[in-house]
């Protein structure tokens, strides 16, 4: 995406979060969560600032950021499409649904569409097994899907 996320304003917000959490034991994870909320992702510049303020080596922070699947080094698209691949959804044919969305938006699972508008994720159980198979697009939830429903749903966002 073209928009610059590394703004002075965002770094000021981050500085405030660090200040509030600094005294806490094990402050790194909560700060990373907040950082991701502010910037939308955790690029190396953000990690550097956290490293300097908390006096934790950058290598260690990079290690933590890349370990957890919820932390991302790159910005996500305007719409994040999560296809649940929990067991209940999988046995009810979630895989073809993922394949279809992937085809429609031209993005591989874990990646962005060419225009950066969509991010496609194959997620673990979101716990809405009664609606299986289920996908979420940002805050919207679509359940009890068949492959044929996908083009219609995607039209709203394209």
């Amino acid at each position: 995406m073209a928009t610059n996320i590394l703004t002075v304003e965002n770094f000021q917000k981050l500085a405030k979060v660090i200040e509030e959490n600094k005294g806490r034991q094990g402050a790194l994870m909560p700060i990373l969560h907040e950082g991701q909320k502010i910037f939308g992702c955790l690029p190396i510049e953000v990690q550097k600032m956290i490293s300097e303020e908390l006096e934790i080596p950058l290598s260690e922070i990079y290690g933590v950021v890349t370990f957890y699947s919820q932390f991302s080094l790159e910005p996500k698209g305007e719409y994040v499409i999560s296809v649940c691949l929990g067991t209940a959804c999988y046995v009810k044919n979630a895989q073809p649904i993922l394949d279809k969305i992937s085809e429609v938006i031209e993005a591989k699972p874990g990646g962005n569409s060419p225009d950066g508008k969509f991010t496609l994720l194959a997620t673990r159980c979101i716990g809405a097994c009664g609606l299986a198979p289920v996908i979420t697009i940002n805050e919207d939830v679509y359940g009890r899907l068949v492959v044929d429903d996908i083009p219609k749903i995607m039209e709203k966002y394209l």
């Binding site: 094990g26 969560h33 933590v64 699947s69 067991t87 046995v91 159980c125 809405a128």
Partner: protein
């Protein structure tokens, strides 16, 4: 206190919220206002009722009318007919809740009849965002009893006596764990709650946190008093926003009322709770990995011993239990260990919550006494398999468990029986599979999950699971050999024996159990290049049956023009051209196309 003549309970668990239950609440509020009923009828937003299949669910008391699959448009009718004129709208009731136009009590509905709710006792009954409702249902009474009448040792004795076993999967006696943590030397101790429910297809813990968050606050405070800790951590998946919000609210409200924080109940006991969010790593459900994650490190397991009871969070003695384990504690304190022991089997006492899903009519959350058979759960509570299909297997324990075939469906559920069958209790996922599910593909699905989630610390798990997945890929693509099956079995046994933590030690279970019960399916893939269930794409083809009416719809749907045939004649698919996209089968109005 205000009195209402009617209560409208609307489920606001994740399942129902996903199908617009919050909009239903708004609409009820609007309708009540329009009909001047807001002083007579109360809307209560509750946690999960359990029967997610019927969601969104609305129950109206005092009649106990159980409305299912409610849409926003239905609210007007329920308000005008039921709430205003007192006539239950029978056509909107859950199908099993009406008999000859009479409303049946909810406990009499097949789904609930065989259940016994201890951990879920308040879920779907109280407003989880109102501490006073929890207190009205005996909330914080156990904590008061413990703090004012009992010594820490007496509390531990009761938990030991109750024979409660850990509900997170392993089944370790909870009382012993408490005793170890109490006896461990340390200037500071911690209580922690494992709410990192990562097992795909399991949502028991989330439902407790969403439906009855105070029970966790109360139980952890009791645990803190018993082992001598003043601080607790709840480690929750960040993917559970509603649970996080409600638990935080519960913590704040409890503090405000002096039930948490300093000098609880005016005794000398202080206890504080803090929420820590996970960040999407399945391995953090393992206790030592979870501890590392709380400390802000990569969530990789530590070798044991030392066990967390001696060296846990910040190397201090730590008591770590799962959400469902804690949810049992207040009831055990209030009703006594004898009551708890009277439920269940010889070695497994009490109840267990399962998330029932997959190919089953009543998807949802069930709590059953230990010793209930798989058949009772699947056919009586779960309502059987949809579409007249045949039951094939039930998977318990998620990626750590195994598939149990039809021949063992009469087994009573308890920790030891499930292990005997090559599966395990796990945290409580129960996924039902029918004849259309390929067991090799299911094993591959779980290995794909484990490979993704292996933390990479120990080689048997990091490299071994990857090799197993490669072999399973090869078999499901039709390129496997008999030697591959032998290698798979050998690898599985070695990984089980040599891995560092529970993730690696149990990762081969899906493979071993399917090899044990469904070996012929593996062999069909290898020797006959055939997938008996018709699920593996590379090994199955689409065929048009004799029942084809020759309507031509499939011919139009086919993107590669592989289908030919005269009008009103049986059509044919050219298998050399077909790309197996399945469009024809999806479009056929006569179900005349099959995949096999």
């Amino acid at each position: 206190m205000e009195l209402f003549r009617s209560h409208v309970l609307v489920c606001a668990g994740t399942g129902c919220t996903s199908s617009a239950s919050l909009k239903i609440i708004e609409e009820f509020e609007k309708q009540l206002e329009e009909n001047n009923l807001e002083k007579e009828v109360k809307i209560v937003q509750t946690g999960c009722f359990g029967l997610c299949e019927a969601g969104p669910v609305v129950i109206v008391y005092p009649e106990g009318a159980f409305y299912s699959h409610i849409k926003v448009e239905d609210v007007k009718r329920i308000t005008e007919e039921h709430l205003l004129k007192g006539r239950v709208v029978t056509d909107l009731l859950y199908k099993d809740a009406v008999i000859e136009n009479q409303v049946r009590d909810i406990d009499e509905v097949d789904f609930y009849k065989k259940q016994k709710r201890i951990a879920l006792r308040n879920c779907g009954l109280i407003n989880p965002e109102d501490i006073e409702e929890y207190i009205a249902f005996d909330g914080y009474k156990a904590l008061a009893k413990v703090l004012t009448e009992m010594k820490p040792e007496e509390v531990i004795e009761i938990i030991k006596e109750s024979k409660l076993r850990g509900r997170g999967g392993g089944g370790f006696p909870a009382g012993l764990k408490w005793e170890f943590a109490a006896k461990a030397e340390g200037d500071e101790k911690y209580v922690a709650c494992n709410a990192d429910e990562g097992d795909p297809g399991a949502f028991m813990d989330r439902s407790v946190l969403e439906g009855d968050p105070h029970v966790i606050v109360e139980a952890m405070t009791i645990a803190g008093y018993a082992i001598g800790a003043n601080k607790g951590y709840v480690y929750i998946r960040a993917e559970y926003p509603i649970a996080v919000k409600r638990l935080q609210l519960a913590i704040d409200d409890a503090k405000r009322m002096g039930l948490l924080g300093e000098k609880i109940f005016n005794t000398g006991f202080d206890f504080d709770l803090e929420i820590r969010l996970g960040a999407g790593a399945f391995v953090c459900g393992e206790e030592t990995a979870l501890i590392n994650s709380i400390e802000g490190k990569r969530g990789m397991p530590r070798p044991r011993p030392p066990f967390p009871a001696n060296k846990g969070i910040w190397n201090k003695p730590t008591l770590l239990n799962n959400v469902e384990t804690y949810a049992n504690i207040p009831q055990i304190i209030l009703n006594g260990p004898e009551w708890f022991k009277s439920i269940g089997t010889e070695t497994s006492k009490g109840t267990k919550v399962f998330a029932l899903g997959g190919k089953i009519n009543n998807t949802g959350l069930v709590e059953i006494p230990m010793g209930t058979t798989l058949r009772e759960v699947i056919y009586e509570i779960g309502g059987g398999i949809p579409g007249g299909k045949e039951f094939k297997a039930v998977q318990t324990g998620g990626p750590s468990g195994g598939c149990i075939p039809a021949e063992h469906i009469d087994t009573p559920i308890d920790y030891d029986n499930l292990i005997e069958l090559g599966s395990m209790m796990g945290s409580g996922g129960m996924i039902v599979m029918d004849e259309d599910n390929c067991m090799v593909d299911i094993a591959r699905f779980f290995l794909d999950f484990t490979v993704d989630e292996s933390c990479g610390k120990c080689p048997p798990c990091r490299i071994g699971t990857k090799r197993m997945l490669e072999i399973l890929d090869k078999i499901t693509e039709g390129n496997g050999t008999m030697e591959d099956i032998d290698n798979l079995e050998r690898l599985a046994k070695n990984i089980k024996a040599a891995s560092l933590c529970g993730l690696g030690q149990t990762a081969p279970n899906p493979v071993l159990s399917t090899l044990q019960y469904f070996r012929e399916e593996y062999e069909a893939h290898v020797l006959e290049h055939r997938c008996p269930a018709g699920a593996c794409k590379a090994l199955s083809n689409y065929y048009i049956l004799e029942t084809c009416k020759g309507c031509g719809i499939c011919m139009k749907a086919c993107p590669v023009e592989a289908i030919s045939g005269e009008r009103k004649q049986v059509h044919v698919i050219d298998l050399d051209v077909c790309i197996k996209c399945g469009e024809c089968m999806a479009k056929c109005p006569f179900d005349a196309i099959v995949r096999r």
